[in-house]
Symmetry: C2
Subunit: 320 residues, 2 copies
């Protein structure tokens, strides 16, 4: 959560005048997204999100993210859509930062996803992967093996603070994944961060997916593995195979998983767990005491990783 940049009334007025969205009635900084400054903007025509992209998002990646939202929305995926200005552009600048106005998506995220929520997610993830097939832009996943290696080096000296053997465990895992990571699987646009807080529901119906700022091109099944980790473990740490079965079954009704993808799922799930273990560990070690943003527990993902290391057959995920 963050509002890093404060947009004054004058700047706002000049910015909004470049769009055909009516007159501003209010503009509130919202505590959403760690990466960007977000405002809930209300005009006499509707409600929008104003996003200022802060330094953690590379400017060169913005056409990919905004273009992807345009593309997906055009294909019927419920997701935020960039509003284009009178000049046709969706990306411009305010307060010396790249900025865009995005449509506002109704809904709440569920804190305790049920089996039915997991099924709805699987359906939406499958539809997302199909809709992304003909998106023409490309963006490499900076948080795959190479990125993990870099992060692993950066947390190497501090990891012991969290758990004495954690650094060794990460190094060993990285070596194992380097050896076993799939070379070829169906690729496409993945969301790469589809945690419960990025999936909105209204009356238990999925109302949309948000936050495409980690989206990239990678193995489609890796996206499913991220969701297995984020949605199918209980707060106790136990893996809920019923939820996993609901998620994967719904996904497979929309998009077929081939044999190689099924076989790779345990190793993809280990990679997905390592990815969030590393970024959480990094944030944990660089956390400022007393800052408002509370870092997430890296050990949650170390425990998920250990679970997947014990999985040899995708049947453990409820797949049949």
């Amino acid at each position: 959560m963050a509002v890093y940049t404060e947009v004054g009334d004058d700047d706002l007025e000049m910015f909004v005048a470049q769009y055909d969205i009516g007159n501003v009635l209010s503009c509130k900084g919202i505590a959403e997204g760690v990466e960007n400054s977000n405002y809930l903007l209300s005009t006499d025509r509707g409600t929008y999100i104003l996003t200022l992209y802060e330094k953690r998002v590379a400017r060169a990646d913005l056409p990919y993210f905004l273009g992807l939202m345009d593309h997906l929305a055009a294909k019927g995926i419920a997701c935020p859509t960039p509003i284009h200005g009178r000049d046709g552009a969706a990306l411009r600048e305010v307060c010396a930062r790249p900025a865009a106005i995005i449509s506002f998506l109704r809904g709440l995220w569920v804190r305790k996803p049920s089996v039915a929520h997991c099924a709805a997610l699987g359906d939406a993830l499958g539809a997302l992967h199909l809709a992304g097939r003909d998106f023409p832009l490309r963006r490499a996943n900076s948080l795959s093996l190479d990125g993990w290696r870099k992060l692993s080096d950066e947390v190497a000296t501090g990891a012991y603070e969290v758990e004495p053997s954690l650094g060794r465990e990460i190094a060993a895992e990285l070596e194992a994944l380097t050896a076993s990571w799939p070379l070829e699987l169906p690729v496409g646009v993945i969301h790469a961060d589809l945690f419960p807080d990025n999936v909105f529901f209204l009356d238990d119906r999925l109302s949309g997916l948000i936050d495409f700022y980690f989206a990239c091109n990678d193995f489609l099944a890796y996206d499913l593995a991220i969701c297995l980790n984020a949605w199918c473990f209980e707060p106790s740490g136990d893996f809920n195979a019923t939820k996993a079965r609901a998620l994967t079954t719904a996904y497979r009704k929309v998009r077929r998983l081939d044999d190689a993808e099924l076989a790779a799922l345990p190793v993809l799930a280990r990679g997905a767990a390592l990815r969030f273990l590393l970024t959480r560990l990094f944030d944990w070690l660089h956390h400022v005491e007393g800052a408002l943003v509370k870092p997430k527990d890296p050990m949650e993902y170390a425990r998920k990783l250990r679970f997947h290391r014990g999985v040899t057959d995708p049947a453990a995920y409820g797949l049949t």
Copy 2:
């Protein structure tokens, strides 16, 4: 700015069910108010603010604040109004905190108030003071002389970090104000924090006043002095007497200032400057390095205080 408490979807649903405001469509934590957790709540009936009162607001004061907003709104003052639940209560609990749903007020605050904005403020402040006359509850101003003394003790050892002689200056000022502070002036309900960010405008028309969580009973002219400090100094530090004249003239058209109030204005303005110097200095000294909330510069108010020390006649404020 802060969201300290995260309200989950389940808690929210149960809470909102106690009101007749329709079904929740979205709920976003907003970066507004340092004291409380605020959410922008949208339902199929309208937009509201959900406030969870954190520990900096005394629970015993909440009936005063909420009752005052009810009272003022009934008198036609444009301000947020507590929504009463099906049981008639405006104050209840969520996530173990006192909480209320308040009507949402449209508008933006102006970063660079003009003379016309200051006149609109004076008019609204006068109307606020008249509307508060028959409000039956009482709350002492905890940030008057006694409060300043306590704060002064707490910052005494750290003040030199900001400016070597600042501690001595504060002690001397406190002594001077103790000797010269008025004993009797017209009293009533004051807002006590009517800075530009608490006054909303739409198309240069004042659309409402917000944030009554410092409201209390004190000298009415002290509220005007707070506004002189908050609205009539330029970013350069210069006092803009044209703005001050616009503010006070508009105020006096609504509520007469008697001779004693006029004569007291310079000492009230010194007190108002000391009050914000002390709280800002306290926050500055207790600031956590790297935290998202950037403390406000205490020296801005030391400079305002010095200006007022040189004022012997209220004519300096543009009053005639």
